[in-house]
Symmetry: C2
């Protein structure tokens, strides 16, 4: 399948590029997109780069009724030397196929998909923004297109890649966020789809997020769905805590998404000889550690924000403040190192970046 | 909003009707569909009945990425007197709004939606098939259409209704099915979306169903996501057991969908003075009852099959057979009564049917 060629149709009219200082997340898209189709007879075929445009589907398509869809999120960065870098993109393609497997979607050739992505980025290269903290957000996704109302895996699909220039997550510098510990709504449970990036996981999360926002909190801390006791993730990020001199993060238990940023933070900490453990962490332990003065820092990790320091947790009626609501030293160091590697400003001893 | 008028555009060409004896489920659609749009400025508006046709959406639409979508399933029946009957349709519209609420989708005027449905059915009335066990399947659904990649509730939606003539679920008469008790995969957990009809719930269920099918079982028995001990649903149906002289069904616990058929079976049994209880039921209890000769019958309930008798359960390595793999007396009686009421062949003492 890697032998497949990609048909390229260039846009005759180009859209105006947005003001890089006013970029928002995920609202503006580049001139082109990648698309390929799947049918049982032909497998994945009809790979094309074509002008960004609406898609037309039968209203009975599986995606509209049963949400059989998965996606990925990654970024391309423009270096000072005008090189375009991706960050561990093979990890995203691997995870895409894990998600595909969980939702009974046919596997995609990972090398071919990465190749298609690189070609697409080259076509829309001038869309990669240049300001500090900006990047080109990349959204590969698969949707189920068979017009059939039976609850069964679709027999046809579309795999697409969209590109969106995005601004710095931190317009006024890295700033710690306030987190609401969610006791009622559950994001995922072992045996469910939490360890995959399925569309439905995000629809389910909207309600809790809406309530947290109304209360003035920026994200939700998700607890496990069984005992509502152990910490899983924060918003759409993985989460780390520094307790005493040790860094801890919830162990992958089947309901947590394995973040590429999480993996990289673990690798980085080991490289720095900072003690780091993956294990079960109860929310009670975190509140106890705060009371005892042992809780030094907490931060979320994910492609969008890279590192998102946490300044406060509210759990039932009790709130705790971390590091006086300021960004912790460790969070800052990880953020700087990762973004420097991603933007080619610092040597990449891990071989994480891939040039387009 | 009920004052809203519906613009009707009739199809200039009509599709050929399918052979009623060869009808499958959810593959053929009528000549028209209903559609209305939601925007923050205008609320639900632009209500139209129009020729069945593909819809065109931006590839960044929320539905494709975060699966923010809900649906309903109901049927219209043609009586011997040529009347068209709906079965408790107000319950479906009520549940649609419960699902909407869970997924942060704006409420729909239930009366208006029912009215729109009736108008649509009238336009496509000649599509209602007439053979024994046939009906017109009705699929109301809502999809999120804002082109935005942030994880947030969409600010625009489409509410649509599709109609599909469907054949008898039981081509060779009502036949008991073999059920696989699922120990690994979980359909839903309290705090999740199990009690709503969200698109994502069905995508998550595909994997377990696929495995059960491969093993020669026709549906999955879902256990609770916390202890994997208590019975929740069977496939996309609610489930009932007759133990001794008593009928039991899992109590609504926040992760079970409240089926309209389930509600009607409960009402019917009470009307008949058959002892019936909603409570927690462990799979162990069912296997014990079978050993003791107390387990008389089991059956699923849902709009598609109405009543689906169960002939066998496999749990780990042990299987039990019910009523010699034959349809039980009670299941048969409920099936006959419900389908007779639905098709206007028997008096409807509950006022369940609504004429179009
Ligand atoms: C639920 C969830 N957890 C964690 C992450 C972080 O993963 P990554 O670091 O690969 O972006 C994401 C975002 O992709 C996510 O959606
Ligand atoms: C998960 C699930 N449970 C139960 C049911 C049965 O509900 P109803 O009787 O309203 O069709 C359905 C089907 O609609 C379903 O999808």
């Amino acid at each position: 399948m890697s032998e497949q060629t990609i048909t390229v149709t260039l846009a005759t009219e180009k859209k105006p590029k947005p003001d890089p200082s006013k970029l928002e997340f995920g609202k503006v898209f580049t001139d082109h997109m990648f698309m390929m189709d799947y049918t049982v007879e032909n497998g994945w075929h009809n790979a094309q780069i074509l002008p960004y445009q609406p898609i037309t589907l039968d209203p009975a398509s599986v995606i509209f009724h049963y949400g059989q869809a998965v996606f990925e999120g990654m970024k391309a960065y423009l270096t000072a030397e005008d090189k375009v870098l991706l960050f561990r993109p093979e990890k995203n393609m691997e995870r895409l196929n894990k998600s595909n497997d969980r939702l009974c979607i046919p596997e995609i050739d990972e090398e071919f998909a990465l190749d298609a992505l690189k070609q697409l980025i080259n076509v829309d290269r001038e869309w990669i923004p240049t300001g500090e903290g900006t990047s080109l957000y990349i959204r590969p996704f698969v949707i189920s297109t068979q017009p059939f109302l039976g609850v069964a895996a679709s027999i046809s699909y579309k795999f697409m890649i969209l590109l969106s220039p995005v601004g710095s997550y931190y317009k006024e510098g890295v700033k710690p966020v306030k987190i609401f510990v969610e006791n009622e709504y559950v994001r995922a449970v072992a045996g469910g789809t939490g360890s995959a990036k399925t569309a439905g996981n995000y629809a389910s999360s909207l309600k809790a997020q809406q309530i947290a926002t109304q209360k003035g909190y920026s994200q939700v801390l998700w607890l496990d769905g069984v005992e509502k006791k152990y910490i899983e993730e924060v918003g759409a990020m993985n989460v780390f805590f520094k307790i005493g001199d040790e860094v801890v993060t919830p162990v992958l238990n089947g309901s947590i998404l394995e973040g590429v940023t999480r993996r990289s933070v673990l690798d980085l900490l080991k490289h720095w000889n900072v003690p780091v453990v993956e294990r079960k962490i109860s929310v009670e332990e975190i509140f106890e550690a705060s009371k005892n003065g042992e809780l030094k820092e907490a931060f979320g990790t994910g492609t969008a924000a890279v590192i998102s320091p946490i300044g406060e947790f509210l759990w039932n009626e009790t709130s705790i403040t971390l590091n006086n609501g300021e960004t912790g030293e460790l969070a800052k160091k990880i953020y700087d190192t990762l973004t420097n590697i991603q933007n080619g400003r610092e040597e990449d001893p891990f071989g994480w970046t891939v040039e387009v």
